[in-house]
Amino acid sequence: MTPTTDLEVRNLSVRFGGVTAVDDVSFEIAPGAIVGLIGPNGSGKTTVLNALTGVVPARGSLTVGGQPITFSRPSQSRRARMIRVFQAPQLCPELSCVENVMLGAAESAGRTIMSAWLRRPTMWRRESDRLADASRQLRRVGLGGFEARAARELTYGEQRLLELARALGAAPRLLMLDEPSAGLNDAETRALRNLLMQIRNEGIAILVVDHKIDFIDALCDRILVLETGRLIAQGTPSDVWSDRRVMDAYLGVAHDA
């Protein structure tokens, strides 16, 4: 696949009433890059993902592949193939694993009520393609053989992988992950890192929010650091960790006046 992602965020701000959750944040993500988004609790990391996904009102500008995207329009973000994996698994518990993956399928033809009534042969053909792709994505994240199992029967870690499979089935150009390593043991975290490396090798850019510094360090090309909604540093991992403001934010050391 040819790398196509070129995401540019300019002056992103998100306000909830009188509270500024994200304040004038600008950054870029190159094609196939893995970018970490870190910061203390409440620094606005998830809100940035919410803004990029279009589920909260935001100000600023966003372009993907040179095309402007309007904030607060989830359908536009989806069309730009910016796909999100949530912090707590967001699945339909009663649906099977393969159905959950098919929900995010990039191919949307044959999924209308009219096609259910009038174009059933075409509908089945499309469904067959979606089913094959969904099974492939399940195998890819290590959930091969889970097709028919209801999502509610899966462990927490498996549900997170299922959500990742759903995101991959959506043919993302930017994959946004919210604390993907939370609740995983060391071996699972290593497996996840290897999987994300494979995904980036296909030209898919990744924006990852996480608290595990080792995980972020080993995974990311660049790191963005937020504190109380403001971007206080960005650069390579070594640049960021040598930044005084980052050390202060993480270690709580106050500057001398």
Partner: protein, 332 residues
């Protein structure tokens, strides 16, 4: 294509046995109609069919679309008055019914557009307001609503040049309409749209980020369900030859809700079973006179408390118990 069906079926994606169930229901209804071709029982059978149609429409709005609306009786009344209006202007039966369906569909589209941003209770309250306004407007005297909302002398249903004058004849028309609507519902439930509708109900915001057409599906289910309500109103009007605003009050609105909940939200068959309960049980208890309301209330409570998934859930549970007790019939 076959592989997809097999795999999808294994995944529990498409419920089987639906067509066979539909055939059994039609046969049972036909047998009943032959045994009770005259009198109040035939009337009750037709009432069950009409209420089943209206409840199936409400099932589309509430169970498939995931939105609670009080407007189904408004749609029934609108369908009834529309068909009566066209009937008095010399339009044939099929034209009248088609007009009723189109007018209610347009009305539903307008209401849903006005209430676009209203969620949950606010949407329900908005539709309640529409119904209340409807009751007042339909109760006035006008060329559309007749004298104080009462119109008599509406033409009998006519199919293929034959006028259906008796309950027994109308039964076949209502059965055919209900069967067709159930079939259309089965096709939706045995399709990828059923999956998308589940996502719209259970995780609306996440569905939007996945590209599921949430707004379009909500609109389509509301408009379709409302149009089916309009169709039920038009059919009952031609069958009775009369329309009165009192027939479409809030009581019936709550009744339709009861039918769908009591029957069971998990399946479209629930609407039919709930409608049967709604029509038959008061009739069966009618000999008990003063205790009827209490008994009816207790019966409702018992079913809701013991079988929260409704009568259809009760049948499912009993069937499962039977399979467990008889391993020979258990699915391998």
């Amino acid at each position: 294509m076959t592989t997809a069906r097999v795999a999808a079926s294994a995944a529990g994606l498409y419920r089987r046995g639906q067509y066979a169930t539909l055939a059994v229901v039609i046969i049972l209804a036909a047998i009943s109609s032959q045994t009770v071709s005259t009198g109040s029982s035939a009337n009750l059978l037709n009432l069950w069919l009409v209420y089943s149609i209206a409840a199936l429409g409400f099932y589309w709005i509430f169970a498939l679309g995931g939105r609670f609306a009080f407007s189904q009786t408004f749609m029934m009344a609108l369908g009834g008055y529309t068909t009566a209006f066209f009937d008095r202007n010399g339009v044939g039966f099929l034209g009248c019914v088609l007009a009723a369906v189109v007018v209610t569909a347009v009305a539903a589209f307008v209401i849903a557009t006005v209430l676009w941003r209203a969620e949950h209770f606010y949407f329900a309250l908005g539709t309640l307001a529409v119904t209340e306004i409807g009751v007042v407007v339909f109760g006035k005297t006008s060329p559309f609503t007749g004298t104080n909302g009462n119109i008599t002398g509406i033409g009998y249903p006519v199919v293929l040049g034959r006028e259906l004058r008796t309950d027994g004849e109308v039964f076949w028309l209502l059965t055919a309409v209900l069967a067709a609507l159930v079939l259309l519902t089965i096709w939706v439930k045995r399709s990828p749209v059923a999956r998308d509708l589940t996502a719209v109900r259970e995780m609306t915001t996440v569905s939007k980020t996945l590209g599921v057409p949430v707004d379009a599906l909500r609109m389509t289910t509301f408009v379709t369900g409302s149009a089916v309500g309009g169709l039920a109103g038009a059919l009952i009007t031609h069958w009775q030859g009369f329309i009165g605003v009192d027939s479409f009050g809030l009581n019936l609105g709550i009744g339709l809700f009861l039918m769908v909940i009591l029957g069971g939200l998990a399946s479209h068959w629930g609407a039919l079973i709930g409608a049967a309960f709604y029509v038959a049980v008061p009739e069966l208890l009618s000999g008990l006179q003063q205790y009827m309301s209490i008994l009816y209330g207790v019966l409702l409570l018992v079913i809701i408390l013991i079988f929260p998934s409704g009568l259809i859930g009760m049948f499912d549970t009993l069937a499962r118990r039977r399979r467990v007790n008889d391993p020979g019939t258990a699915p391998s």
